[in-house]
């Protein structure tokens, strides 16, 4: 906190110094006396802040006296009969953010006040990135969603994927856990694939990012699913100018073999000629867990244990449970009130020939579980230089360093601890520390085994990742002649991920090995070289052709190494002293590499600005497939009709814009491991006597027929804007079928293999997306709202030779291992188990669905599905004067959660802590017999409705008036805003766990919606300020 204040003061002082120098040129304003009927005139010009072109029909008004006028065709205006005195002058135009300035009018004089209005995001005329180029939104034929920097920065988020939650229809974002910097599952229009990647392709300023966790991080952390930090964590959300999400085939086919899951294009900020603005921002957030689970206290726990022993015919171990009182609240021990701090500054500007954007940021996000955190420092330099009228060059570059302390979470039944699970099941009768003040890690008398003290685990185990990331490119553009431009780009995505793990000899699992330490490092270098030719030309009055074609090379190489040692004389050196261990595990090295060679072209043909046609094609060649299957062709076609350009529509006078779109095309997915088509040998080891011998054995079966997954997608869309731009609607229907699915088909074990990667089966996703938005202002009021809704229906159409695959993915543990099924005619991510009927003598009875009087495998059925029926987001903002209130609510309806935590907390084994309701019976908890006889099967007892409505963000800001600023000690500043916001400020859900926004196995395709020792999401209150000078 003190650091925070110190930093703010420093920023303010720096602002003062810089401003003092800038002020030398300003002229004092002469103040006139205030006499009635003395009037003057205000003149000026309203311009677009991006293009500097005049803005027509902008409303210019002074507050107080009702005086308004409109700007002319060139943006000029003249406001006469303005009473003498100082006024707040306001300029407003649909599609632009309103602007105010203070103007002092003297009698009979003309005062000049120019406005530069910034384009507001909902505008159809906005220029959006479309991959290898840009286009005005009105000219799009495909389905492209945009998220603006305002929306990204409205929430204090550590990584950009969290800013996408609920923002765009058809873009489902599920955060895997509350671990600071954790990754998210992002699905655009549902999941296409069963075992290849389902995440979209991320392209930052033209550089496709490496997001393949398996290759890019060494994966040695004590964690089952969150294998270190989010690979999007290297990008500072504050640097983002806009995010475009390419959803349909017309938009994404330009990325061919990597486009099937949609494409997320991230454009970072650049400098603008004429400005030289220093911007700064900072916030401080305070976080807490949403709720804790109602577990037994020591008295209740001891009573339950006594019952278990009595049931087993043994002497109860706790003679007097009531004397134990509440005991240790282990949830209270591990959860804390945490803080999140961010500091950012940027300098942007330039002249007509050189523009620059320089920024730096620092983020520290402490987790709500003690001992976890994420920190990031980043730096960015974006330069654009116009060398001559025909030649431009520049660069985009960011370097970041992220580090995180990751919560150990290895699942139940593992010899390594899951801190959340251990805290939930730890006996409240045990103390955190022994009488000497050290962590109690002795024998748990109820199990006779070492006690995995959750606090000791999180405090004493080192489980960290450090990432250094460099993403950047340099480009050169040359206009060969008017309308014909050649562009050459060289890009780099460099990621160095270092993971450290050390478990000291005092706590499990280090206790088992007298200390165990591992360091792993993976360096991934992905370079891309691109050459494109862009041609834009009009033919006659009515035809415009805009074409781009190019060739790209991309190559990715990862070098990974890890080393593990055990049995240390002292734990004090930690990972630094790996060489001082006594037992050394064999080091591991990996060197996966892959390359992609692609040719692509796109043509947009516009007839009379009314009929729009787009043809796109890409040929990709990939090393991931065998000879004969390396190349794939991915075409798409789209047509759009701007009906609003037709006379009969214009005569209606209702539509500012009305466009109907249709597209069809094919995209691919090659996100599988390298060499999957090859027969390979794996290494093994065996000890003869006391000699270790290495063996090599057949490991995978060859499949030279292996090829891309292909997705064919139809999109029918409508864009409309009515009432002078006040309301707009975008609606899309889509249907897509993915065939030749890449899937590890379980093969008969009698073959000596477990599975084989094959192209089998089809999955279909169909859905409807609707986005409604409105922007209004009346007088001092300025308000807007945006609603997005998305329905996706996912169905497995074919699984090759099979009709269903039980347990298609390895998740869960113990009795709740793999309770999932993949079945033709059903959506993916279905839960599979028995149907609970009733309790009989303390044991559950399941329904005998096949009527054979025995409960067998045949009685399993689908007991839920993790996919929502529909999702939505509603954002609204109201501005009045200098205040602005924004609200963002997001929901998911119809998704189920398989709550393994609950299964463990109701299993009634009699030696682990349980929910209070286990003793008394409660909602969904029948009274089991206490003792280890509760037959714990995958069943609908543990499937819960995960629907929720969540107040994602509410934010109230106050922008200091320029008058106040000038009069204040902060006169150096040109703007200053302070705000307070709250994230996850309310959640309505029936889900009984910590938090419904959860997915332990988010990185899989087939096992979403599991809660299993998952780090819960925090709720947060944030205080911040942002300013510029």
């Amino acid at each position: 906190m003190r650091l925070h204040i110190t930093t703010l003061i420093s920023v303010a002082l720096l602002a003062g110094v810089l401003r003092a120098e800038a002020q030398q040129a300003s002229t004092p304003v002469k103040r006139g006396s205030l006499v009635k009927l003395q009037v003057g005139t205000i003149i000026g010009r309203v311009t677009d802040s991006t293009s500097s072109a005049g803005v027509e029909r902008a409303t210019i008004a002074i507050t107080g006296p009702s005086l308004t006028t409109l700007s002319d065709r060139d943006g000029n205006y003249r406001l006469t009969n303005v009473p003498v005195g100082t006024h707040t002058l306001r300029a407003m135009r649909i599609g632009y953010a309103p602007a105010t300035q203070s103007v002092t009018v003297a009698e009979g004089q003309e005062v000049r006040a120019d406005f530069s209005l910034a384009v507001r995001v909902t505008e159809l005329a906005r220029v959006v990135a479309i991959g290898y180029g840009t286009a005005p939104r009105r000219d799009l034929t495909g389905s492209v969603a945009s998220v603006t920097s305002e929306e990204v920065n409205a929430l204090p988020v550590a990584t950009l994927d969290q800013a996408l939650v609920g923002r765009a229809a058809g873009v489902e974002v599920v955060t895997s856990s509350g671990q600071p910097g954790a990754g998210s599952m992002v699905r655009i229009r549902g999941g296409n694939s069963i075992s290849a990647g389902n995440d979209p392709l991320y392209v930052v300023d033209g550089v496709p990012l490496t997001t393949n966790l398996g290759d890019a991080t060494p994966g040695i952390l004590l964690s089952q699913s969150v294998r270190g930090m989010n690979l999007l964590g290297g990008i500072d959300p504050g640097d983002i100018e806009s995010i475009e999400i390419l959803k349909d085939a017309s938009a994404s086919a330009i990325y061919g073999a990597r486009g099937a899951n949609g494409v997320v294009l991230i454009t970072t900020k650049r400098g603008r000629a004429g400005q030289n603005t220093v911007s700064f921002g900072s916030y401080l957030g305070v976080e807490q867990v949403r709720r804790t689970l109602p577990l037994m206290n020591a008295t209740e726990f001891a009573t339950m244990v006594n019952t278990a022993y009595t049931n087993a015919g043994q002497t109860p171990p706790f003679p007097n449970p009531s004397s134990l009182g509440p005991g240790t609240d282990w949830q209270d021990v591990i959860f804390r009130t945490a803080s999140m701090r961010s500091y950012e500054a940027s300098v942007a500007g330039g002249d007509q020939r050189t523009q620059y954007y320089v920024s730096g940021s620092l983020l520290q996000s402490d987790g709500i579980v003690t001992g976890t955190d994420m920190r990031r420092g980043s730096f960015r330099l974006n330069l654009d230089r116009t060398v001559s009228n025909r030649f431009r060059l520049g660069n985009r570059l960011t370097v970041s360093r992220s580090q995180g302390k990751i919560l150990p979470n290895a699942g139940a039944g593992q010899e390594v601890p899951s801190v959340i699970l251990n805290a939930l099941t730890a006996p409240p009768t045990l103390a955190v520390r022994d009488s000497g003040g050290e962590f109690f890690v002795g024998t748990n008398p109820l199990t006779g085994r070492p006690f995995p003290n959750p606090l000791a685990s999180v405090m004493e185990i080192t489980n960290e990742e450090r990432q250094t990331r460099l993403i950047g490119n340099v480009y050169a553009e040359f206009d060969i002649k008017d309308g014909l431009t050649v562009r050459s780009t060289a890009g780099l995505d460099f990621l160095n991920s270092l993971q450290d793990y050390y478990a000291p000899s005092t706590v499990l699992p280090g206790k088992n090995y007298s200390g165990e330490g591992t360091r792993g490092q993976a360096e991934t270098v992905s370079w891309v070289a691109e050459n494109t030719l862009h041609w834009r030309r009009g033919f006659g009055e009515r035809h415009v052709l805009d074409a781009v074609g190019g060739i790209t090379f991309q190559s990715t190489l990862t070098d990974g190494v890890s080393a593990t040692a055990r049995q240390f004389l002292t734990d004090r050196l930690g990972v630094s002293g790996l060489g001082t261990g006594s037992v050394f595990l064999p080091p591991g090295t990996t060197t996966p590499s892959s390359s992609l060679l692609s040719y692509f072209a796109r043509g947009n043909w516009s007839i009379a600005d009314k009929y729009l046609f787009t043809l796109t094609g890409r040929i990709d060649g990939s090393t991931k497939f065998g000879p004969g299957n390396q190349y794939g062709f991915f075409p798409s076609a789209a047509v759009a009709w701007r009906a609003s350009q037709e006379d009969f529509i214009q005569r209606l006078g209702a539509f500012d814009d009305l466009k109907l779109r249709a597209s069809y095309g094919r995209t691919g997915n090659q996100d599988i491991g390298n060499y999957s088509w090859l027969s390979t040998l794996c290494s093994t080891s065996y000890a003869y006597g006391t000699t270790r011998a290495i063996g090599f054995v057949p490991c995978t079966m060859a499949n030279t027929n292996l090829k891309w997954e292909t997705t064919d997608q139809l999109d029918l869309g409508l864009d409309a804007t009515v009432y002078g731009g006040r309301f707009s609607v975008t609606a899309d229907y889509y249907g897509k079928t993915t065939h030749d699915l890449l899937y590890y088909v379980p093969v008969p074990l009698i073959s000596g293999y477990t599975s084989m990667l094959q192209n089998v089966g089809r999955v279909r996703n169909r859905g409807f997306e609707l986005t409604l938005s409105t922007a209004n202002h009346r007088g001092e009021f300025d308000w807007g709202a945006s609603l997005n809704l998305a329905w996706n229906r996912n169905r497995v159409l074919n699984l090759g030779p099979d009709t269903m695959l039980v347990n298609p993915v390895g998740v869960g543990a113990g009795a709740h291992q793999n309770p999932t099924i993949l079945k033709v005619g059903q959506p993916t991510n279905a839960f599979y188990g028995w149907v609970y009927d009733s309790m009989l003598a303390g044991n559950p009875v399941y329904r005998d669905l096949d009527g054979d009087t025995a409960i067998t495998e045949a009685d399993r059925t689908i007991i839920g599905n993790a996919q929502p029926d529909y999702t939505g987001g509603l954002g609204g903002r109201v501005a009045y004067g200098n205040f602005e209130l924004s609200l963002f609510v997001q929901w998911s309806v119809g998704n189920d959660i398989y709550n393994i935590n609950r299964a463990l907390l109701t299993s009634a084994a009699g030696n682990a802590n349980q929910l209070k309701d286990v003793a008394t019976g409660g909602r969904g908890i029948p009274s089991p017999r206490i003792g280890n006889t509760f037959e714990n099967r995958p069943s609908d007892l543990f499937v819960e409705d995960g629907s929720y409505v969540r107040g994602k963000n509410i934010r109230l800001s106050y922008t200091m008036s320029s008058d106040w600023l000038r009069a204040s000690p902060l006169r150096a500043l040109s703007s200053l805003q302070v705000y307070v916001s709250a994230q996850n400020f309310f959640t309505i859900t029936d889900y009984s766990g910590y938090d419904p926004e959860i997915s332990e196995y988010a990185t899989t395709n087939l096992a979403h919606g599991f809660d299993f020792g998952t780090y819960p999401q925090p709720r947060r209150i944030t205080f911040g300020l942002a300013g510029a000078f």
Binding site: E415, N512, F553, L597, T684, P746, V747, L749, I750
Partner: protein, 495 residues
């Protein structure tokens, strides 16, 4: 001028990028993986391929095997600490989904495929023929061992005698067990001919011709061919290669595993030189709280089994099991509540620092004994009593060697039926938790009565645990997942 230079540079970059050879760019010559095309070329490759077969056998016996061979018998009762899978095995209420039988199935077929790869590919390698023959003999032995486990557990099973390289022909039906046995016998005869009697140096622990012959004797005994069983077992006895260790406890000493005179074939676990691959049976079976590290206390010896050991029997208290309070060699008095009965002492080597000071998950070097000389003696006694020719002394003398080493009086003058009971009792006492019990019960057709007795005893030991019941058959269920992916497979009756 400056502009022109930059433009020229840019043009060069563009041209350079476009002209780069496109064909070679996608060439995939993996340097970080081995493929069959760049392997199986040298004698070292041949040795490594055989090493890989042993590795799979290591995982076969590591855990799931003895859930079937010992936990699912009347020798072991699951304690409250044991997971639900252990309880289902112990209570004999598992089904075709249960992982331990499925694990043995999958591990065995992986072993077979690796052995088949060796048998298919090594003959083409130009190398020392003596070494090649030995390696082929090892592969034959390990393949026979895997098929023997399969045919005993599951009956008719699919038969593969060549490496599987494609899915063509993989969905096959079950081969009659007689054909499987024919392959096993052929493999073992080949192994007996090719394998040496012993090894030295870094090869100690590989399969010997004695191991192959002992396994062959067990095959014949299992098939009821007592004449040939007696002949093969007698040949081992007559060879004089093996003797009983004077002290029964020394069989389980880590320091003399494999090299002791009683050992015939063991699965070697060595947590020191092969870290991350230690055995776990000590950890699972020692009582919770036993000093020197972790101990799970998952199982105990039922009173009915304890009662079978005379006080004079060194294999009883302090041998096979220990009863709380227990005074160990260090003089510590150890007490425990879990398991709630006599815990296993069999795999506790009090002379091993790993066992007594650093017990942890996969950190033990206790071997899994597949065959030892006492087994050969008892096989011989059994086979001769059932009608086999006595080629190496009387059945009585073989049985008495085992009895006397344990501290029991010799038997004499028993009827065939009484001798049968005596040798069966001796097998039970000698080999508790050594992977013999389920197979013995199944081949004696005594599995049903044993499980009936066990579940009856459980009614007082652990009320509510399970009902009184027998077994569906003398076979394990074919794993359901295998039937799911191969409709040619049929389930065993009763499952």
């Amino acid at each position: 001028m400056y502009t022109n230079r930059l433009a020229t540079l840019a043009t060069l970059i563009v041209l350079g990028g476009s002209l780069a050879s496109c064909d070679s760019f996608l060439d995939s010559h993996p340097t970080d993986v081995l493929t069959p095309e760049n392997f199986y070329r040298t004698s070292a490759d041949a040795v490594a391929a055989v090493n890989g077969v042993y590795e799979q056998v290591k995982w076969t016996y590591w855990l799931g095997f003895w859930y079937v061979s010992d936990v699912a018998t009347d020798d072991i009762v699951a304690s409250a600490n044991f997971g639900s899978d252990g309880h289902r095995m112990s209570n004999y209420v598992f089904d075709a989904l249960e992982w331990p039988p499925g694990g043995v199935w999958g591990d065995s077929y992986r072993t077979i495929n690796r052995a088949n790869a060796v048998l298919d590919r090594i003959p083409a390698i130009a190398m020392d023929t003596t070494l090649r023959n030995r390696l082929l003999g090892e592969a034959h032995f390990l393949r026979a061992l895997a098929y023997f486990n399969l045919v005993r557990l599951f009956g008719d099973v699919p038969l593969f005698d060549h490496e599987v390289t494609t899915l063509e022909g993989v969905t096959v039906s079950r081969t009659p067990s007689a054909d499987v046995y024919a392959l096993i016998e052929g493999d073992l005869q080949d192994a007996i001919a090719a394998l040496p009697a012993s090894y030295s140096g870094a090869d100690i622990g590989r399969a010997t011709n004695g191991a192959a012959r002992a396994l062959l004797a067990k095959v014949y005994l299992t098939r009821g061919d007592f004449a040939t069983a007696a002949q093969e077992a007698g040949a081992i006895i007559s060879s004089g290669r093996y003797t009983l260790l004077p002290d029964w406890h020394d069989i389980f000493r880590i320091a003399t595993e494999i090299t002791n005179s009683e050992s015939i074939f063991e699965i070697n676990y060595d947590a020191t030189v092969d870290p991350g691959a230690g055995s776990v049976q000590t950890l699972f079976s020692l009582p919770s709280g036993y000093p020197g590290g972790d101990a799970y206390g998952l199982m105990f010896v039922p009173p009915s089994l304890v009662a079978l050991f005379d006080t004079a029997d060194v294999r009883g208290e302090g041998g096979t099991f220990m009863t709380s309070p227990f005074v160990n060699d260090a003089g510590d008095t150890v007490t425990w509540a879990m398991p709630p009965g006599p815990a296993f002492a069999k795999y506790l080597d009090q002379t091993s620092a790993q066992n007594t000071g650093a017990r942890a998950w996969m950190q033990q070097s206790n071997n899994w004994i597949v065959q030892r000389y006492a087994d050969v003696l008892l096989m011989y006694a059994e086979a001769v009593n059932e009608g086999g020719a006595a080629s190496a002394g009387t059945a009585e003398s073989a049985l008495n060697l085992v009895r006397e080493r344990a501290g029991l009086a010799p038997v004499s003058g028993l009827s065939t039926a009484a001798f049968r009971d005596s040798v069966r009792l001796e097998r039970r006492r000698e080999f508790v938790f050594e992977g013999q019990r389920w197979f013995d019960l199944a081949r004696w057709d005594a599995l049903n009565s044993a499980i009936l007795a066990k579940t009856t005893e459980l009614q007082t030991l652990s009320p509510g645990e399970t009902t009184v019941h027998g077994v569906p058959s003398n076979l394990m269920p074919i794993p359901q997942s295998e039937i799911d992916v191969n409709r040619q497979l049929t389930q065993n009756p009763g499952w």
